[in-house]
């Protein structure tokens, strides 16, 4: 018994020693730093992992191509926020306090970004979001920007698509645990009312929560709808489509950019065929001169065409580097000012101008699932 106790005591001490070593303050920064840290927080595990992993493909490619700024090597630090709001705040704290990041990139998932944004705002560290689309991510935030459009536009894109394609009755199913989903459901409804003159066409509005896998009860109420608008994440959407088809629903599935993950097709299978959703980018519809070399480099590295999330990850990283260059400084406040002044930046997802709320104003694309792949349908201007 005594030896066991001794061993466990030693084990704990080794652990503590490791912790202490991790906390040792770094040497004082000299005038020219030996490296600058750009932090990234993305969901690498949990319900949104596919989005985070896709985003990181783009960020990693960009990091490979631009490993230094102002003559100083960049060290990129990725922290997994586990698709969780609380973990996102922790991840941001770690990036800022422990890793001394001068700028941060992320995160897939608006709720994650909103939680992280509270921390970065207080610390005064600029953040460039890749794909969080809820307006509240940047609203009232001085230091949060994003490389993507926002949900009022995205909701309108899908409402318009539905109306133009003769849909008369639509049902909305939202994930009430996700700000992203709740926001989009509201914006879609708003745009629908504006376009059709009334809310009569919305035959059902219902909800589910994070972690739910059974949507049969929600679907039971909407059998007479011609289309289902389900602005949730890909995993929920795939199961929902499966169950809707099993219950005999024959209409159209409509979604938003969080649907763009291979899992939508692998899990959704046959049921996902024909589903349409709005997104940021399609490799089939290159928009800027930078798009083509990006697609080529991406294909060479990963052997597949880049997804919208990957393209946005690439753009977000390049936007940060561009801002540091224009600021000609590693001071977070100066970088923030440069980010805010971004104008006509040539990204791979389009020309990016940051407006006064910190958002990018860009086109949206509508994609369709056809023969087990995402196919480009059309582009919608803001």
């Amino acid at each position: 018994m005594r030896t066991t106790k001794l061993i466990s005591l030693m084990f704990v001490m080794v652990l503590l020693a490791g912790l202490a070593a991790g906390c040792t303050p770094k040497a004082e920064e000299s005038a020219v730093p030996t490296e600058v840290v750009i932090g990234v927080y993305e969901p690498m595990t949990g319900a949104q992992a596919a989005g985070g992993v896709q985003t990181m493909q783009g960020v990693n490619l960009a990091y490979e191509q631009r490993g230094e700024v102002l003559g100083v090597p960049i060290r990129m630090v990725l922290v997994d926020n586990r698709s969780d709001k609380a973990e996102s705040a922790t991840a941001m704290t770690r990036l800022i306090e422990q890793e001394k990041a001068i700028a941060v990139i992320g995160s897939y998932g608006s709720s994650n970004s909103m939680a992280g944004g509270e921390v970065s705002e207080k610390a005064g560290i600029p953040v460039m979001g890749c794909s969080p689309t809820n307006p509240l991510v940047t609203e009232g935030k001085e230091f949060y920007f994003r490389a993507c459009f926002i949900d009022p536009f995205q909701g309108r894109v899908m409402a318009k698509y539905a109306v133009e394609n003769g849909i008369k009755k639509v049902a909305i199913i939202q994930n009430i645990s996700q700000d992203y989903s709740v926001g989009l459901a509201a914006f879609f409804k708003e745009a629908w009312i504006e376009l059709t003159g009334s809310a009569d066409g919305i035959v059902a509005e219902t909800a589910y929560q994070d972690g739910d896998q059974d949507f049969t009860a929600q679907l039971g109420a909407i059998k007479d709808a011609e289309a289902i608008f389900a602005p949730g994440y890909y995993g929920d959407a795939a199961l929902l489509m499966n169950q809707a088809r099993e219950m005999g629903f024959k209409g159209l599935f409509m979604g938003t950019d969080a649907w763009e993950a291979p899992e939508l097709i692998s899990i959704g299978g046959e049921a996902a065929e024909g589903a349409v959703f709005s997104s940021h980018y399609s490799a089939e519809a290159a928009t800027t001169p930078a798009s083509k070399p990006f697609v080529d480099a991406f294909m060479a590295k990963y052997g597949e065409a880049p997804s919208a999330m990957a393209a946005l990850g690439y753009d977000a990283y390049m936007l940060v580097v561009d801002a540091i260059e224009r600021a000609n400084s590693f001071d977070p406040k100066a970088i923030r000012d440069a980010m805010a002044a971004t104008e006509n930046f040539e990204g791979v997802t389009g020309f990016i101008t940051i407006n006064d709320t910190g958002d990018a104003v860009k086109d949206a694309v509508v994609l369709e699932v056809r023969d087990g792949a995402f196919k480009y349908l059309t582009t919608v201007k803001p």
Binding site: M44, T45, G46, A47, A49, A50, V53, D80, I176, A204, E205, T206, A207, Y208, Q209, G211, D212, Q213, D214, T216, A217, Q218, G220, A221, I222, G235, A238, L239, N242, E246, M247, G248, E263, S266, I267, G269
Partner: protein, 297 residues
Amino acid sequence: MTIESFLQNLTNGISLGALYALISIGYTMVYGILRLINFAHGDLVMLGAYFAFYGVALFLLPWWLAFPLAILLTTLIGIIIEKAAYKPLREFPRINLFAAAVAVAFLLENLAIVIFGGRPKAFARPAFLDQLLNIGKVSFVSYTPVIILTAIVLCTILILIINRTKAGIAMRALSKDIETTALMGVNTNRIIMFAFMLGSSLAAAGGILWAIKFPQINPLMGVMPGLKAFIAAVLGGIGNVWGAMIGGLLLGVVEIMLVAFFPQLAGYRDAFAYAILILLLLFRPTGIMGEVQAEKV
């Protein structure tokens, strides 16, 4: 609500409830014997699903071989957990066991994230479980009756084991008084292991059926079903196998019906479902089938 849509929802509720029932039996058995809430139980559900997935997707086994193998492997892990994490702590205060159970749960979840990867995987249903069926206006997929039947068969076997075999009698005796049972010459360690075996294999079976019904598996998939099944076990009267089954079925049907009757309140589903639970426990503190037990001193 029409009679058809009521029947449709009832079918959906029962098939969900059958899964809760299978999983909650494991909780209730372990609790009945050790007074331990095995928080890692939900993660055995996840392991069962993953083993079945890899058996089919990686080793290209036919489902009738892959599924039993997955159950076997999960059972083995259940036994290892009992031997490594719970048995050494048995004579210490109960709270240590609870802490160990939570630790094992986190350990399994994080191991699964590292080994299996954090992204969800698509679970391929065997073709015969993927047929769309219609009875009148009620439509369901062929896995629905299979899930319900499997649950009934497994539960019947379990009840037979508990009531008709020596090990079962010993298990029931253990749940009354461990020390006295040991004095009667029962090998308590083996019987406790046996209970964990049964619980783990039911969890694995539940996990595989869960993955068939919801063909998306991820390392945290066991957490919610685990919690719900635990609640079902409490609802039914924890420690009572019949109670666990009834509690599971009830929970599944109530969850579906609440949303079906009040679709606009779907977001509050869990709040309502558990308000009902609290009410029920207020009036029947030992659950539906629970017996009032005198505190042992």
